[in-house]
């Protein structure tokens, strides 16, 4: 499931409220999950620079009561799954941007969350690395049956990864104006999903609706 919308529509705030970094001004967030069952992947890979990749991945497990030696073992397993076998002893400084993103992913996935929140997680990566990581994430998420709430500016990313896309209106007091079902079958390769016949029409519709939101906001501004 994806959330798209103009800047300032509160997409990130919504994610932060779900994971409890921010208290909603009114109302409550209901997920039916314990906090440890929700993971969050941030736009920047804020890894602890003084811990190795392995130690970074093990961190969440240790916080949740796993014995450190076991947590390190599991960390290695997750690093391997994300194609980083043998990189466990490296410090974040000595990893590329894509590798750091994989470590951050391993860190979140090692906690085996039921719900994964992603706040423009791939925005800072170059195109090829980005496509590869998105493919891997899609595969892992499908296999582990993790629900994902993705915030993005990238409509292609939203459609190719999601079953549902929600469009938020311009803030303040943003609300969901449209929702779309993505009729591309699963299991799905997010790169090839873009070649599915349903992709282009849905993209066009989303784009028109989003443009209208942004335009409406600019008209509102000019009348003030």
């Amino acid at each position: 499931m994806s959330l798209v919308g103009p800047s300032g529509s509160g997409k990130s705030s919504l994610l932060r409220a779900v994971i409890g970094l921010q208290k909603p001004l009114a109302g409550t967030v209901e997920t039916g999950l314990a906090p440890s069952e929700i993971g969050m992947l941030f736009q920047d890979d804020a890894l602890l620079p003084w811990k190795t990749a392995r130690e970074n991945v093990a961190l969440g497990l240790i916080f949740n009561g796993v014995e450190p030696p076991r947590a390190q073992e599991q960390a290695d397993v997750w690093l391997q799954r994300l194609g980083l076998a043998g990189f466990g002893h490296r410090f974040p400084r000595h990893l590329s941007g894509g590798q750091r993103k994989r470590v951050a992913l391993a860190q979140v996935l090692a906690m085996t969350p039921k719900l994964l929140l992603m706040d423009e997680p791939f925005a800072s990566l170059d195109a090829i690395v980005r496509a590869r990581i998105i493919q891997e994430v899609a595969t892992l998420v499908e296999r582990e049956r993790i629900s994902v709430l993705l915030v993005t500016h990238d409509l292609e990313e939203a459609i190719s990864l999601s079953d549902c896309v929600y469009l938020l209106s311009q803030g303040p007091r943003a609300h969901i104006t449209h929702d779309y079902r993505v009729p591309i079958p699963r299991p799905r390769d997010p790169v090839r999903a873009r070649m599915h016949p349903a992709f282009a029409p849905l993209y066009e519709k989303l784009w028109n609706d989003l443009s209208r939101e942004v335009d409406r906001d600019q008209r509102a501004e000019s009348t003030v």
């Binding site: 969050m40 602890l48 003084w50």
Partner: protein, 251 residues
């Protein structure tokens, strides 16, 4: 001519040798008054005498004990107060103005106060070294923690870390680099505190010997002591540098 940077120390050594030789020659040619500037050989002789007679050891021992005790207590107290102030707003409200005040004054002016409170023994020197180091460490840690990247904090929180985990995995490692950075300054401060304290009132220590050399116009002894303190501090700097390199190897 291209200078090979790896041989810089050779050129520096050569320059130093030339300066010392000119100095020595000027001394022997009676161009320098030994009362103001004793020649290198006289300073060397004073140094050899200090160690040869064994006279230096109780003084070295006293100054080292004072400086290292003050350094250790100052670092621990400074770090603890800095962490507490950064995490508990009430403590920051109470401590920060005091620390700012102590930071603004030249803290060595407290030396006479400590002598009156604690006598001319070791305690007043430890106290002076302590207060010099503790204030430095407090600000290093306090501002270090407040500058920690919010994103790292949020990351740890979303992974299920509580306040203690934040201190242990984020705040302490984050301030470690700044603490180690100011460790060298702290070593200097600790010896300043010890020597100034001895200078004011003492019966032992390098500062006491210095003040004795001054009052008897023994310039050769004075320069020998300054040289000795220099070497001591350089050695400790070297150890601190090693420690820094090891603990900050992630950087």
């Amino acid at each position: 001519m291209a200078l090979n940077p790896r041989h810089a120390w050779l050129r520096q050594l050569a320059a130093l040798t030339i300066v010392l030789m000119v100095w020595e020659a000027a001394g022997r040619g009676h161009l320098l008054n030994p009362l103001f500037a004793p020649s290198p050989s006289q300073i060397g002789a004073a140094l050899v005498d200090l160690f040869g007679s064994g006279r230096i050891w109780p003084h070295l021992n006293a100054t080292f004990t004072e400086a290292l005790a003050g350094l250790l207590i100052g670092i621990v107290v400074g770090i603890v107060l800095g962490v507490l102030a950064a995490l508990v707003p009430l403590i920051a409200e109470l401590i920060e103005p005091v620390m700012t005040l102590l930071n603004a004054i030249p803290r060595v002016i407290l030396a006479p106060v400590f002598v009156i409170w604690m006598g001319i023994g070791i305690a007043s020197k430890v106290a002076l070294a302590f207060i010099l180091v503790a204030v430095l460490m407090f600000f290093t840690v306090y501002s270090g923690i407040r500058q920690v990247d919010r994103k790292l904090v949020e990351r740890i929180v979303t992974l299920g870390g509580g306040r203690w985990e934040l201190v242990r995995h984020v705040y302490l490692p984050a301030v470690a680099s700044s603490v180690l950075g100011s460790l060298k300054v702290a070593v200097g401060f600790a010896f300043t505190g010890a020597c100034v304290g001895e200078f004011v009132a003492a019966s032992r220590g390098l500062g006491y010997l210095l003040s004795f050399a001054q009052s008897t116009y023994n310039t050769a002894l004075m320069f020998a002591l300054i040289l000795l303190i220099l070497v001591v501090v350089l050695v400790i700097f070297g150890i601190a540098g090693r420690l820094e390199k090891h603990l900050l190897r992630w950087n």
